[in-house]
């Protein structure tokens, strides 16, 4: 076993684990021997800024950001794909042209949807 090339790795691994566990074990033994545990309501509180937490953590946030995400996607992805499409247009097959059309229609659908939701209205 000691001839195995992985033996030093094993030794290092054991040393590493020991290095991590020894202080924890020492602290645990110390606490058990000398220092009694003293939990309390303040100490066990989750929030630690001096104030008491108020209200419920399970509240709903309005996810207004998804609108921006969709509009961004529509315009940005469109621009990214349209440029190579336009450059290679002359050499494209009919199938490729149709695929691109479907893709564009999908994006336009997003735009129509945003228009219907009146996201594009400047107020």
């Amino acid at each position: 076993m000691t001839n195995s090339p992985y033996f030093p790795v094993l030794v290092l691994l054991a040393a590493g684990v020991g290095f991590a566990i020894a202080p924890l074990a020492l602290a645990w033994i110390w606490a058990w021997k000398f220092s009694p545990r003293k939990p309390g309501p303040s100490k066990n509180a989750i929030y630690e800024c001096g104030l008491e937490s108020a209200g419920d953590a399970w509240i709903q946030f309005h996810p207004g950001y998804y609108l921006y995400a969709i509009i961004f996607l529509v315009f940005d992805i469109e621009a990214v794909f349209l440029l190579p499409f336009a450059v290679a247009f002359a050499g494209l097959t009919f199938a490729a042209g149709m695929a691109m059309l479907v893709f564009l229609l999908l994006l336009v659908e997003g735009l129509v949807w945003a228009y219907q939701k009146q996201v594009l209205v400047w107020s």
Partner: protein, 213 residues
Amino acid sequence: MDEHLKTELRKQGIVATTLQELYNWGRKNSLWPLNFGLACCAIEMIAASMARYDMARFGAEVFRPSPRQADLMIVAGTVTKKMAPQVVRLYNQMAEPKYVISMGACAISGGPFKQGYNVLKGIDRYIPVDVYIPGCPPRPEALIDALMTLQKLIDKQSLTGADRPRHLQAEAPSEFIVPRFGAHDLEPPQNPEVWDAPLVNISLAGTDDAGKH
């Protein structure tokens, strides 16, 4: 172990120590203060932690933003009654062993604002204070002196026996009453477990109510 023998051994290059000494040595040289300031005194505390006064020399430069990681609470500044519950709660949330330095006239007694209706007349009404530093504000040297005083106090603490410090006694409390906002004052106005009203002979009794509240 005999002190004389110990110094003799040290001269020969042999260090003899006890578990208690090691423990206290470790604790006193890594007092991490809680990162908070309440008023002008905090500026001096900040100065003490910066390069010119360099509290890092005493192992106390690691100002912790969380009470769970702090050992030392430096009450630096005016404790208003609005702020007192938060200060006490932060103290409660610190892990034992924990120490308090009451820095400046305000934290000791209310200082220049003692007559104010909104100022707590000393943080020692709610939490046990280990070292007081007078001054308005105390200079950074004074804070360093307080730190060294605290280090000496920690060095003297014993690990076992009846006079061992609070954090080693199972019955001793680690949390203290957090005052609530009452109709006119904090309730309770002081914690009788940690604060005894000083007996003073006020000859103006009856005509002057300073010091009563």
